[in-house]
């Protein structure tokens, strides 16, 4: 391999890249993906118990409920509307506070509690909302509890949803830039005949593969970093983060070369992508749903690059904490080299025979 020639091919790809829709997708994705996930899907992922209140008399309960962290409160105009919202499971529970409810509670008149839950609401959410509502009513009543409750917190706090979505965005950025760009670039050059034309120049197949790998690596590295920056998830260990992203970009760029060299045309490349990308993308779903069995995520190769990035960027882990995971990722990268070599030789043979 001639590094100088590989560099020239790389610079050519970089110069012509912006003309390709895939290249543009790779660059635009971090911004678009972050916007879509944060603004659009942010409203769909609603894990908190949702309580709706119809307040007909400016109850103190409504104000107190609004201050509870972890419960999504909606003020609803009428009891009928609230009933519909609860029945359709747009809310987990509904509470109607009639005019004078607080005064009746304070006077010990035991007014009826108009509280109802959705049939589709989880038992745990029903319990949370019912018992919290009762506690708020007790507060209005002014009764002193017979005990003090001392809460002892153990371990690290739970991550917000936005943080759990970050691995998805980063993997998307790595996938588009690291896999799609070099793979499509290789196939496109092959289909348009430029690879064949290169045979009459000093450039060898290995130079082209190296250039495509560097293109995928650099683009994936930069776009993953941009994605993390846009999501305010750069962690406390910048050097460790750069190492983890570099390993991730390397693995994905290698996969891009495998895709690009294995596919003889764009149709096959597409088939390869639609079949295998679910394997690459699967681990990120497990971050969104932490209650799912997490060991399943470890079955997928990309877990070993996305998890170290996640741990460093979100959980402030150090390089030492994730070293063994990056070791596995590097082992996967090393195992991919002979595969790329074989496929690369086969590609060169086919191009020469064409």
């Amino acid at each position: 391999m001639n590094p100088f020639l590989a560099l020239r091919v790389f610079l050519k790809d970089l110069r012509l890249g912006p003309r390709s829709p895939i290249f543009l997708w790779a660059v635009v994705f971090p911004v678009v993906g972050t916007l879509v996930v944060q603004l659009v899907f942010g409203s769909l992922f609603a894990p908190k118990p949702r309580l709706g209140i119809v307040d007909e008399g400016a109850s103190a309960i409504t104000a107190a409920a609004g201050e509870i962290d972890g419960i999504e409160l909606s003020i609803v105009a009428s009891a009928d509307e609230l009933t519909h919202l609860v029945r359709d499971h747009n809310l987990d529970a509904g509470l109607v506070l009639a005019a004078g409810f607080d005064d009746q509670v304070r006077a010990g008149e035991r007014p009826p509690l108009q509280f109802f839950v959705s049939g589709e609401s989880l038992a745990s959410n029903r319990l949370i909302l019912a018992v919290t509502t009762l506690d708020l009513v007790r507060a209005v009543e002014g009764s002193t509890p017979p005990v003090e409750v001392d809460v002892v917190s153990i371990g690290a706090p739970q991550l917000p949803l936005a943080a759990r979505l970050t691995p998805m965005l980063v993997l998307f950025a790595l996938l588009i830039a690291g896999v799609f760009v070099p793979a499509f670039s290789l196939v496109q050059e092959r289909e348009s005949g430029t690879l064949t034309a290169m045979l009459v120049t000093p450039v060898r197949g290995t130079d082209v593969l190296a250039a495509k790998a560097v293109l995928g690596f650099v683009l994936a590295f930069v776009m993953a970093l941009v994605t993390l920056w846009l999501n305010d998830a750069l962690g406390l260990e910048p050097a460790a983060l750069l190492v983890a992203i570099a390993v991730g970009a390397l693995m994905l760029a290698e996969l891009g070369l495998i895709y690009g060299t294995a596919a003889k045309d764009a149709k096959i490349l597409f088939t390869l992508m639609k079949s295998l990308n679910i394997v690459l993308f699967a681990p990120v779903v497990f971050y969104i749903f932490p209650d799912w069995p997490q060991w399943i995520a470890q079955l997928f190769p990309t877990y070993w690059v996305i998890n170290p990035i996640f741990e460093i960027a979100i959980n402030d882990a150090s390089l030492a904490d994730v070293a063994w995971q990056l070791g596995i990722a590097l082992a996967i990268c090393a195992a991919a080299i002979p595969v790329i070599a074989v496929l690369g030789r086969r590609l060169q043979g086919r191009v020469a025979a064409a």
């Binding site: 035991r110 989880l122 949370i128 409750v149 149709k267």
Partner: protein, 364 residues
């Protein structure tokens, strides 16, 4: 030319397209492989939903109250008793069996009886959401109010009046069931790309134009592409539905919904295929369609009715029919509105695909 002759020509073009796919050994291997992955992913997901909060409890002399708290699945609590506060704290720290622990003091009953203030310790893993912490504190206070003989400050309605809609306690929609429409829809969406690719290649190679010198009309070609796309998408979706055991309730209704979805996706494939200059442009043009079309399938993963803007998306009707039939046991009458909406969108998208491809072929 008779309609029968047209049908013969369409059949011949479809057979040619399918033969082309079947000759592609790579496609023949990887397409079933992708289906196997979808199926494996489905069966790997949990079949049940965890809807109770597991709480460790240490107590002396409160057996009856604690037993009442954890009675039945509807209570929302799964209570695990511990021998000492130390063992309870260790369990919460380890985070394996419980993430919340309530340690009632040994002299609680005596303290409450004499009106003496006592302290109950609640151990919580820091990962426990704030709403659960708040609820556990409230629960402890309520238990002690009950022990002190202080009644509720309100009159509670009967259980029947409290639950609105079908009570799904103990049989909530599992992650596996939630993923079902998404997987089916993903197969349909991806196969629309396959059709788009086929169309783009024919446009690029001008084979579509070459048909003009044969007895086949442009309409025959367009119909054939629609049939090919529908067959590819529908066939794979049906295999997936069978493999993930989804045809138990109203199989005909479910197949109709999937067929409508497959035709709709063929329309999308035709639009994308006729818009693209080459395969790659086509692929990324398709993604522009796929992202909004996939939103209803993602929305089905989350509770409640989707937002109004999601409900007007073309794929919403198909997804809701699949969800309704497979999760809630809907019949034809209950699915009619969704299916009607899907059919209307199907006509619009397929019509748009037909129009776009016709213009492209005629312009060649």
């Amino acid at each position: 030319m008779t309609p029968r002759a047209h049908l013969g020509i369409i059949g011949a073009i479809v057979a040619k397209d399918l033969r082309e796919f079947s000759r592609d050994r790579f496609w023949m291997i990887m397409t079933p492989f992708a289906l196997v992955i979808y199926i494996a992913l489905f069966w790997l997901l949990p079949a049940t939903t965890e809807e109770t909060i597991k709480v460790g409890v240490y107590q002396r002399g409160l057996d009856a109250v604690i037993a009442q708290l954890g009675e039945g699945q509807g209570s929302g609590l799964d209570i695990v008793e511990f021998e000492s506060p130390g063992a309870l704290e260790e369990a919460v720290t380890a985070g394996e069996s419980v993430s919340i622990g309530i340690a009632f003091p040994d002299d609680l009953l005596e303290a409450v009886a004499y009106g003496r203030q006592s302290t109950v310790t609640v151990f919580v893993d820091a990962a426990v959401p704030n709403e659960i912490r708040t609820a556990m504190q409230a629960l402890v206070r309520e238990v002690t109010f009950e022990l002190a003989g202080v009644g509720l400050p309100v009159t509670q309605p009967s259980q029947e009046l409290v639950v609105l809609g079908e009570d799904r306690i103990g049989r909530q929609v599992s992650p596996r069931e939630e993923m079902r429409p998404l997987l089916v829809f993903f197969v349909l969406l991806v196969e629309s790309l396959a059709l788009a690719g086929l169309v783009a290649v024919e446009v690029q190679a001008r084979t579509a134009k070459a048909i003009a010198v044969t007895p086949a009309t442009v309409a025959d070609l367009l119909a054939a592409k629609g049939v090919t796309g529908t067959l590819l998408a529908f066939g794979q979706a049906v295999i997936l539905l069978v493999a993930i055991a989804s045809l138990g309730n109203e199989p005909l209704l479910l197949l109709t919904a999937v067929l409508v979805g497959a035709v709709m996706m063929s329309g999308v494939g035709m639009i994308a295929g006729s818009a693209g200059r080459d395969f790659m442009t086509t692929l990324f043009t398709s993604i522009v369609f796929i992202v909004p079309l996939a939103i209803p399938a993602f929305a089905a993963l989350f509770p409640g009715a989707a937002s109004a803007w999601v409900q007007v998306l073309p794929t919403y009707g198909v997804v809701q029919t699949i969800v309704g039939v497979t999760v809630y046991g809907f019949d034809w009458a209950e699915s009619a509105a969704y299916l009607g909406m899907a059919a209307a969108w199907c006509c619009v998208l397929f019509g748009a695909g037909w129009f776009a491809l016709r213009r492209r072929v005629e312009a060649l």
